[in-house]
Amino acid sequence: MMILLFFVLSVICVGSVLGMIISKNQAYSALFLVLAFSCLGGLFGMLGAPFMAVVQIIIYAGAIMVLFIFVIMMINLRKGISPERKKWTLAVSAVISVVLLAELVFAVLGTPPMPYTAAFSSGTSPTDIGRLLFTKYLYPFEITSVLIIAALVGAIVLVKKREKE
């Protein structure tokens, strides 16, 4: 049963990524991506990380993709932009990507499964995550605040119109 769900979700996920690639209209691409990220959220849930699933759907599908759609609306291209037509780039990038895929798969197959050790912190509830976030990972957490400030300031300064213009 679970395995069926896994396959359904992954097929939808991969399929919507393909849809995003194929569609000429950026808004459709963005919507495809929302779908793909939602499926990923489902997969996170199946992996046993319900909190991450929620975060994924709220932040990714909800916030980040909405940002994309906003920008797409603001730019509002009349005509869609068709995919790359330069044969050379296409061929080479396809070949290299496939080789990369093969390499990664080879690496997975060549690595024995990791031995399970119980010594690690367990639990999956949001409380556990929260506790970890504010104890062991407090420092990185603080850094993300700096990161967001930087992104904020950067985005504003780039987009705002100067008075002199």
């Binding site: 990923l40 798969v105 050790t117 912190s121 930087a150 985005a155």
Partner: protein, 100 residues
Amino acid sequence: MIPASYFFLLSVVLFVLGIIAFFLKRDLITQLMAVEIMLNAANLAFLALAKSSNFLDAQVIVFFIITVAAAEAAIGLAIVMLIFRQKKSIKTEDMRSMKG
């Protein structure tokens, strides 16, 4: 229980699809989306690989990565806006005034 390696393989496929999307698309916004796909694939890989060990840590790290992705998306879209305002175009191949 589904083996974690399935999830990992899926993440690899998604990652490579993200790369392909990056090369296939010709406008900045969808290229940015392609990068988002790659980041998501990496998140899935994190969770899948840590499933059998310290899964909780992996979740926290994924949380950070989502934050990073949000920050990058914000700044990236801002730059795209800037470009669009100047050139009235968001095609990647129009960005080649500097080369050599």
